[in-house]
């Protein structure tokens, strides 16, 4: 920011975890409802969520895992964008868990060992009556799956398209995430950030994280001049 003296902040900001209470459902209310009730006895065994970058796929999957942990169930979040470079050993014995959330499915498609491992993973989880939620950037039909058996498994469960938020929804989401962090974000500042800031929601929330730290360090209120300075706009 500046080269002058700077007070380092203590880590006393509130954590903005990816939970259901920090997710603005917008037009995705029924999806969120299904996902939250997936762990009920009558819940869907398999859910498939798809949508464009930055609509909240990872947030929803992590929120489902947080919810499972809150219910004293065991859950595992597998972001294949990061884990897909490894061989699929992590899917072994996975049916011992209560919920498995597989993110970025498209990352491993076309790779024989991964597709086979996923196919068996589907079967084992279903046989063990455990829950699986999968997210990808396209619908099961549009994904390029080599293994026909896996392709059919992908469309076994309920499929939801995650709809992006409109402008009002984006404003509401930004304010919600600020509130989760305990920050008061005035309307005109929220409008400025939305107007000037990145289009993608995840990048927008990263900017919020930067502002959280900067305002803690500088003890400044969130004004437009402060936002400009802290984000280098």
């Amino acid at each position: 920011m500046s080269s002058g003296p700077a007070q380092l902040p203590l880590g006393v900001g509130l954590r903005d975890d990816a939970t259901f209470s920090s997710f603005l459902a917008g037009g995705n209310a029924s999806l969120v409802e299904r996902l939250r009730s997936q762990l009920d006895a009558s819940g869907e065994p398999l859910l498939f969520l798809w949508g464009a970058e930055g609509v909240g796929r990872s947030h929803l999957l992590q929120a489902a895992c947080h919810e499972a942990t809150d219910r004293d169930l065991r859950a595992l979040y597998l972001p294949l964008a990061e884990l897909g470079h490894f061989p699929p050993h992590m899917l072994e014995d996975i049916e011992r868990l209560d919920l498995v959330a597989i993110d970025d499915l498209e990352q491993v498609l076309g790779r024989k060992r991964w597709e086979e491992a996923l196919f068996h993973c589907y079967n084992r989880l279903r046989d063990a009556n455990k829950r699986l939620v999968v997210a990808a950037n396209a619908s099961p039909r549009q994904l390029e799956v080599r293994l026909p058996d896996l392709a059919s498994r992908l469309s076994w469960g309920m499929t939801f398209h995650i709809k992006p938020l409109d402008d009002q929804g984006r404003a509401d989401a930004l304010k919600l995430r600020a509130r989760v962090r305990g920050m008061q974000l005035p309307d005109e500042v929220a409008r400025y950030i939305l107007h000037r800031g990145p289009r993608r929601l995840d990048e927008l929330f990263e900017a919020l994280e930067t502002l959280d730290r900067a305002s803690l360090s500088a003890k400044r209120k969130l004004t437009i001049p402060f936002v400009k300075q802290a984000l280098g706009w």
Partner: protein
């Protein structure tokens, strides 16, 4: 209504109650104090809708019971400036409050009693009592670290944590954190954590003294109430989570030195004279047996002090806002202070040597 009261009986409760009244008000009636006189005594109420304080005192004579609201500050200024031991007669005449004492006469405006808001009587779920001295010590040891008007509502207050046999206060403004715990003879299951807003904390502590007399607390869902003898204090609570203080207290510091508290405080306050007025930064150079404190300002003026300390270990240079260190040295009561450091970017821990009931965490500055 009509009653008479000695200046001394009125002044202390009036001063405390008027302290709650804000200078700038959204509702005109909030700048008034509510006087309610009955056979059993006179009660005075001041409120800003967040904090309410009721004080009780005994009039020397009650001729007619009743209630009125009058401007708090004017009433207090008048009572304060009357001679000692004056007898004051207060009467409501044609909608105005008339105050007589000796050959003085003051007529004050009033506002309808019905407009005076009172904080709703919340269902108190938990009642407990603490020695006043314990609560006062806990507040005094930590309140300086509360934030003022931070964008994070939860920092503009103090965490009061009550659990079985233990009371704890925590305050932080994001740069430093203060935590103080004391044992107490209370049963609270499950443990309660409330955030009392800054103003409530500052008003509450004014009602407390160092005695073992009890202050009884009533904890509601959205309010906390405290009774001390003649006063009833009610404050709204800050709705929200307070940061987990355990996450912030450093555990890995390996550079531990002990200094004479008063001496170190003097060194720091002298050095601070030539620190940058805006950032208040000072540089500490830790060496075996010696701590060097340096400051300079944009005018290229410099201060340098050396103070003897108990320390063996590696040397370290680290910057701090000098005010944060002085604040801590002011509230510690031991003659000596222990400071634990790790590296120039990690927080410092200040406490009594060997650890007392309070811990202070101060984040360094990059100079």
């Amino acid at each position: 209504m009509k009653f008479s009261i000695s200046r001394e009986a009125l002044l202390r409760p009036l001063a405390l109650v008027a302290g709650v009244v804000e200078r700038r008000q959204t509702l005109p009636v909030l700048s008034n104090v509510l006087l309610d006189v009955r056979e059993e005594g006179l009660s005075l109420t001041g409120t800003d809708l967040e904090v309410e304080l009721i004080g009780r005192t005994m009039p020397s004579q009650v001729e007619e019971q009743g209630a009125a609201t009058v401007p708090a500050r004017k009433l207090m200024d008048i009572c304060k400036s009357l001679p000692d031991q004056s007898e004051i007669t207060f009467a409501l005449e044609e909608g105005r409050a008339v105050l007589r004492s000796g050959r003085s006469r003051f007529t004050l405006s009033t506002l309808p009693v019905a407009e005076f808001p009172n904080i709703e009587d919340t269902q108190g779920s938990i009642e407990l009592s603490l020695p006043r001295g314990t609560l006062k010590h806990l507040i005094d040891a930590t309140s300086f670290a509360m934030a003022q008007q931070d964008v994070r509502y939860y920092l503009n207050g103090m965490l009061l944590e009550l659990r079985s046999n233990l009371v704890r206060t925590v305050a932080t403004d994001g740069h430093r954190l203060a935590v103080c715990s004391r044992s107490a003879d209370i049963e609270v299951e499950p443990a309660q954590k409330l955030i009392i807003p800054r103003k409530g904390v500052l008003e509450l502590v004014r009602l407390l003294d160092d005695s073992d007399e009890p202050v009884s607390l009533t904890l509601g869902a959205s309010h906390v109430r405290a009774h001390t003898g003649d006063f009833t204090f009610t404050s709204k609570l800050v709705d929200g989570k307070f940061p987990d203080y355990e996450r912030v207290v450093p555990r890995g510091g390996d550079k531990v030195f002990i200094a004479e508290r008063a001496q170190l405080r003097q060194v720091l306050s002298r050095t601070s004279i030539l620190s940058n007025e805006k950032y208040r930064g000072v540089r500490l150079q830790l060496e075996e047996g010696n701590l060097q404190v340096m400051a300079n300002n944009p005018e290229q003026e410099e201060a340098e002090e050396n103070v003897e300390i108990e320390y063996t270990g590696a040397s370290l240079e680290i910057g701090f806002n000098v005010s944060y260190l002085i604040d801590v040295l002011n509230v510690l009561d031991e003659d000596r202070v222990q400071m634990t450091l790790a590296d120039p970017n990690s927080s410092a821990l200040l406490e009594e040597p060997g650890g007392g009931d309070a811990m202070y965490v101060v984040m360094p500055m990059r100079l």
